[in-house]
């Protein structure tokens, strides 16, 4: 009996004439991620990608684990592919469901008949299937409201498909379908979550990090690299730009008023990130800022930061509470890494009393006390690039 993984699209299904471009991208992403799981055949019909293992040793469980992280997928169904003949469906389908059905107490059936030429009508299919399951598994009871499992039978164009577990996908859009953006990755809890959320909207996310040795340790860098690795199952390949930031921070400390340290530092980071955007064609920046979390994330501070950027700055966690951000961080497994206690460049030279309501004219004046341009140029030149593969 042939097993297939049926991958149902989310939003893509609603697209119009350009739907196939999104589908192509999704399938390309899936193929790339499933390469290490063995050989599969891919086909698509009726808003579904069919993934058929081509050999015995193809790792279906591993493939499903990976699919769960890929954006653009609404649901994943591991199914038996059956001939469109009722007796065959029962004969082959009942034993296939044994693993799941032997461990539960209640079930319901959900039949879909997209092939209207199939001789039985949907209500008949539901009734017959329910009866077949009850006689094959007499310990079960029907519960249409709160079943332990739902057995799904789909009569489609070429075959019938039966399964008893529909796994939720990540939703969203295929990574790459919305263009390229650059994430300011600090090492805290918020920025990896921001990356995840924008990748979910189809952005291809790369990351930039600012490093200030000896104020920050090599471990802080290792931590950020680990975060990149943890993001790849969701974001795909990540290019990582590491900016040497010590000189700039020291110049900032020596030449600007203390209360503006953080806000000017944020602006200088934006300026460097903008240079990378220009050179490497990123269309937006992503940060993990959330309103009111720290002094540099007040409305007025954010406005000052924004003024330093030519490209739009996306802040997907802007309206989220820490608790909500942590919840996502735990789900995508970046939390434990993020809370490793290494100093990052944002906490070096933290002013005792930072300006919480900075005005752009004052900030620009404070910034003008020193010509940062040559140092910014130098920092961009000395960037170290590392690639993280999904």
């Amino acid at each position: 009996m042939q097993e297939v993984i049926m991958v149902k699209y989310g939003e893509i299904a609603l697209k119009g004439l350009n739907k196939h471009t999104f589908e192509d991208m999704l399938i390309r992403n899936i193929k790339r991620r499933l390469k290490s799981c063995g050989e599969f055949e891919y086909s698509r019909r009726q808003s579904t990608v069919y993934i058929k293992p081509l050999s015995e040793d193809a790792d279906i469980d591993g493939a499903i684990e990976r699919l769960k992280c890929i954006f653009g997928i609404a649901a994943i169904q591991r199914s038996a592919q059956l001939p469109k003949n009722w007796d065959e469906i029962v004969k082959l389908g009942m034993p296939y469901l044994e693993d799941v059905l032997s461990c539960v107490k209640t079930f319901k059936v959900d039949a879909k008949r997209s092939d209207k030429a199939f001789p039985m009508k949907t209500p008949d299919i539901q009734r017959e299937l329910g009866g077949a399951i009850l006689s094959a598994y007499p310990h079960l009871k029907v519960d249409v409201h709160n079943p332990d499992v739902t057995v799904i039978l789909e009569i489609r164009d070429t075959h019938a498909f039966i399964n008893a577990e529909k796994l939720p996908g990540q939703g969203g859009m295929p990574v790459g379908s919305s263009g390229n953006a650059l994430l300011l990755l600090s090492g805290g809890i918020d920025s990896p979550v921001a990356a995840y959320m924008m990748a979910k909207r189809g952005l291809n996310v790369d990351a930039i990090h600012f490093q200030s040795p000896p104020y920050t340790s090599e471990r802080a860098l290792m931590k950020v690299e680990e975060l990149c690795e943890k993001l790849t199952p969701y974001c795909g390949d990540i290019r990582f730009y590491c900016v040497p930031f010590t000189e700039i921070q020291e110049a900032l400390r020596d030449n600007c008023p203390e209360e503006y340290f953080t806000i000017i530092m944020r602006r200088l980071m934006m300026k460097i990130a903008n240079k990378i955007c220009e050179e490497k064609d990123y269309k937006a920046l992503i940060t993990g800022e959330s309103v009111g979390q720290v002094a540099s994330q007040t409305l007025m501070a954010l406005a000052c930061t924004d003024k330093a950027s030519d490209v739009p700055v996306f802040r997907p966690v802007i309206g989220m509470d820490k608790k909500e951000i942590v919840e996502i961080a735990r789900r995508i497994d970046t939390f434990e890494t993020s809370i490793l206690p290494y100093e990052d460049c944002c906490t070096v030279f933290t002013p005792k009393h930072p300006k919480t309501k900075p005005v752009i004219s004052e900030v620009e004046e404070a910034e003008a006390g020193f010509d940062f341009a040559p140092l910014l140029e130098k920092a961009v030149k000395e960037i170290v690039i590392k690639d993280f593969k999904a």
């Binding site: 040795p213 000896p214 104020y215 920050t216 340790s217 206690p341 100093e343």
Partner: protein, 366 residues
């Protein structure tokens, strides 16, 4: 590389590496096997036990563990079970290593109480420990030498005093930092925890000294090795390395005293240095550099390949409870540096460190 973080770990000495390799290649039998290969492996363990006991100068049994963390856990949790009718109180210090304080915390969750004394509160710390013992005290656990400051506790004095007061009270000493370094006459206990990698042995092997007639419930159950008290095939190669390290470690009392003096002298020429160590073994010197956070100084020194420790002072930005128990202020704890020496440390190393600190102050102090 100038390695001055020998309280964290040491470079395995050539003798230890050689002994371990030799065993891996030519003596790889399982000490529990009945045949000759097994017997030869067992001989290595027997010999190591003798060497360690001789170094301790005490009579009893040595068990090998995965390290001092396991030894400490075994004693604290294992004696609580074996002597559950001897009382529910533990007397200890607020300067213990987490592998002692954490299992004690666990016992406190189960109805035990712990009295934790700080050296800064007493002129005669040993007497304070003895005074805290009462008829309900089943365990006294004190470290011999503190890992952050080098503070020495005379555990022999404590042992004798405790036993006079309540003979049933067990005395445990975490001797990891003192072994081979502190004066042996200040060590006496029912249970003693040891670690090989602090004395130029290899990581992953530790020892537990158990005095005669002392009992404990094992932490691990299994094949019944080591008299059924520590199951698991003995790490013969590491044990051989442990023995070699004990034999190697020379008496450095005078050398450490000289190095310590030189460092203090050099540092005293700089402004804003506070020495945090007192009553200490001279292989450790803890000091604070006013106005420069430990971590920054540490990474700065690292750039010239000088390795020290921030004295585990400000992990996660919190100031060390241990240093404050020695009377160090929060501000000083935040800028504390620990230098710790080994038999190979030279005067030049110490001078390089002092120079590095000087440069660090020039660059970072505001």
């Amino acid at each position: 590389m100038i390695y001055l973080d020998n309280s964290a770990t040491t470079r395995p000495c050539d003798e230890a590496v050689k002994a371990a390799c030799e065993n891996m290649k030519n003596n790889f039998g399982n000490p529990s096997s009945l045949h000759k290969a097994g017997i030869e492996a067992e001989k290595v363990i027997k010999s190591a036990k003798k060497t360690i006991l001789a170094k301790l100068g005490l009579e009893g049994e040595i068990y090998f563990t995965s390290g001092a963390t396991e030894s400490n856990n075994t004693v604290i949790l294992g004696t609580a079970k074996a002597y559950k009718h001897n009382g529910k109180k533990i007397v200890t210090t607020s300067t213990e290593h987490p592998s002692v304080s954490a299992p004690i915390d666990k016992l406190c969750e189960q109805g035990y109480t712990a009295v934790r004394l700080s050296p800064k509160d007493y002129d005669d710390f040993e007497k304070a420990v003895i005074d805290a013992v009462d008829s309900d005290t089943f365990l006294v656990s004190v470290m011999w030498v503190n890992n952050e400051t080098g503070f020495i506790t005379d555990t022999a004095k404590i042992y004798n005093g405790v036993k006079r007061k309540n003979p049933k009270t067990i005395v445990h000493v975490d001797a990891v930092q003192g072994f081979c370094k502190a004066p042996p006459k200040t060590l006496k206990a029912d249970f003693i925890s040891l670690s090989a990698h602090k004395i130029h042995g290899i990581k992953g092997i530790g020892g537990l000294f158990v005095a005669k007639n002392m009992r404990f419930e094992p932490l691990l159950y299994g094949g019944g090795q080591q008299k059924n008290l520590r199951s698991g095939t003995e790490a013969v190669d590491l044990i051989a390395g442990f023995e070699a390290a004990v034999k190697y470690y020379p008496d450095c009392t005078e050398k450490y005293a000289r190095l310590n003096e030189i460092l203090q002298e050099r540092l005293s020429a700089l402004e804003g240095i506070t020495i945090n160590s007192y009553n200490n073994t001279k292989n450790i010197l803890n000091f604070s550099v006013k106005g420069v956070r430990s971590e920054i100084m540490l990474h700065f020194l690292e750039e010239s390949e000088i390795y020290v420790s921030s004295g585990s002072a400000c992990s996660k930005g919190k100031t060390s409870g241990v240093l404050s128990a020695f009377g160090v202020t929060d501000e000083n704890a935040d800028s504390a540096i620990r230098a710790s020496f080994c038999p190979e440390t030279t005067e030049e190393d110490i001078i390089a460190l002092a120079d590095g600190i000087k440069k660090g102050i020039e660059r970072f102090r505001r």
